[in-house]
Symmetry: C2
Subunit: 353 residues, 2 copies
């Protein structure tokens, strides 16, 4: 017999996090991390362990200020969280309290429906078109909010800013969240629309272009009213979430802009080179504006390639989901890592055909 308290335990469908192999011989192209470390300057600022004994500044003002300055906005327009997952979850909790469904694409970041379920937010998922593009008219209907990534995940496709603006302007009664986790690798940001629309929230992360997945830093930029609403919810829950190493190292990362731009350029160059290398093998990649490509082969099922690569200690990502179950999401590593992967694919494709 189960104890009586078991009735009062929240039942959830637990999310299964992506595989993080402990084997260091693995070529890890499965979680869209940056193959290059962050600015070497970030290590220098954390040498003194004595600073760890004090609580972090709950407003993380040092980091907020440097992000605001970087984007040319006021500090009252910046909200920081423990990764963009935290920022997005807080945004769902803060902004999506309508009885109407929120809208996001059928193929998109896999956490949106998890949060909607957790917070009991109704949602609908308009289908992307046959080219995996947003159909902007699908977002004209009545709704309780809109959220989509740009570039989209896991396709890597960038939606032009005119279409993004069209969706924002058609939803004056809802909050529209544009999740720009990958924007530094290609495409124009919706940040320039922040002052024009009072219903727009742009979300960013340090995990991809800033090489700091291990630190968990994300942020939202919007108008001061929406940022205050986010902070009010955050402080009501746990006011000390971002730790001192993140605040200090994150700040230093933003300050070293030359290093940041150089590393992003390297990843983009490797992406172009990689796409060209696998085309002759029978692969097609969707046009990527991210630090990964979404690739399909003309006659070998994606799942088989995924499994063969894993046996060869190369991890990529496969989604067993409708419409995308013949694609692989391949993070862009170093040139050397991608060369090894191309070498593997060349041998593998030849062995099959």
């Amino acid at each position: 017999m189960m104890a009586a308290w078991s009735d009062n335990i929240r039942k959830v469908e637990p999310y299964v996090p992506g595989e993080q192999p402990k084997d260091t011989n693995v070529i890890k192209l499965n979680t869209n991390e940056n193959p290059y470390g962050p600015s070497p300057r970030v290590a220098e600022v954390i040498q003194n362990p004595d600073l760890l004994r004090l609580y972090p500044d709950p407003t993380a003002s040092q980091l907020v200020d440097v992000i605001a300055e970087y984007h040319g906005v006021d500090s009252s327009q910046v909200f920081v969280g423990v990764g963009s997952d935290d920022v997005l979850a807080m945004s769902f909790l803060t902004f999506f309290n309508s009885d109407k469904p929120i809208l996001f694409p059928d193929i998109t970041y896999s956490f949106y429906d998890v949060w909607a379920e957790l917070f009991r937010i109704p949602y609908e998922r308009p289908a992307l078109d046959e080219n995996f593009r947003l159909v902007k008219e699908d977002y004209y209907r009545e709704n309780g909010g809109v959220v989509f990534p740009n570039p989209n995940a896991p396709t890597g496709i960038y939606e032009n800013l005119a279409n993004v603006e069209d969706i924002i302007s058609h939803n004056g009664d809802s909050i529209v969240i544009v999740d720009e986790a990958y924007i530094d690798f290609g495409g124009k940001s919706a940040l320039e629309l922040i002052d024009k629309y009072d219903n727009l929230v742009v979300v960013r992360t340090f995990s991809k272009s800033r090489s700091m997945a291990g630190l968990r830093i994300g942020y939202a930029i919007s108008n001061p009213i929406l940022i205050k609403a986010l902070n009010d919810v955050k402080y009501s829950y746990n006011s000390y979430t971002m730790n001192r190493p993140s605040i200090i190292m994150g700040t230093e990362s933003v300050k070293d802009d030359a290093y940041f731009k150089a590393m992003v350029a390297k990843v983009v160059a490797t992406r172009t080179r990689f796409v060209e290398s696998i085309r002759p093998l029978g692969f097609t990649c969707l046009e990527s504006s991210a630090n990964f490509v979404f690739a399909t082969h003309e006659n070998i099922p994606a799942k088989e390639i995924f499994e063969a690569a894993k046996k060869a200690h190369i991890y990529v990502r496969y989604f067993d989901k409708p419409r995308i179950d013949n694609y692989l999401r391949i993070s862009i590593g170093t040139d050397e890592e991608m060369d090894k992967f191309v070498e593997f694919l060349t041998g593998y494709v030849q062995s099959i055909q």
Copy 2:
């Protein structure tokens, strides 16, 4: 006119975090931090910034394992979170889903009612007795869960383990959370009861005795069923909350036990010395088993002392709340800091009388 979306923004009463002065001349005795830094070994493990580019292990298994080993439990009995605030909030969300009210004392950690309000959990607050002690019989009534700190905050009073066990054993149908944030500074832990009662969750933090408030690490120890329930809820929300510096440095802190014990002993010795120093000035302290004391003066109102100390750049904590509005909560700093505070109090008390 407000935009239509403003109706769907969550309304909360934001918590106002404690003051974190940027002025480094301040003697900071207001947030129960440890005056000594963590083990110097923790800085050595974070020299390589390259590790920051990878996502943290979502299970934080390295840290979970070392905590489990330290307490002589299985790793399946340990849940880690971003500070004990995160662990407690997750515990509320996971375990307190009954329609019956949860119970916690009228004078206690100030976040319990904040989380109960946020998650819409009904609650009742039985009054501590006139000596600020728990009345165990108050926890015999039907409830949806029980939570209390031991030692209690902000009183510092430790409740003996027989009374704690009595409350646990009278609540077989509810989860009982014993919040042991301060237990390392005095008193016997409820951890020894974990295997005896399936409804017990013990919560700990690295912020006080381990000098790591700046890292945000907390944990719960319980049986594998309750720990799995916590992890399921956590993964459904945000699976990457603890960052790499916290995992690595936290692990190293647990390994350096000699340093840890020496620093705790120093704080306890200073506490005894401080209490004896202010008694002749007309102060009475509740018997403290924590890294702070709760002090009242025989004829000067606590609020006046609080304000005078602040003018002298010494920050302590004052709560403008029923029953405790004539007390000061004074964190234990270094001997030198406490000597300066005693010097200030001596002059101040003389000037008044």
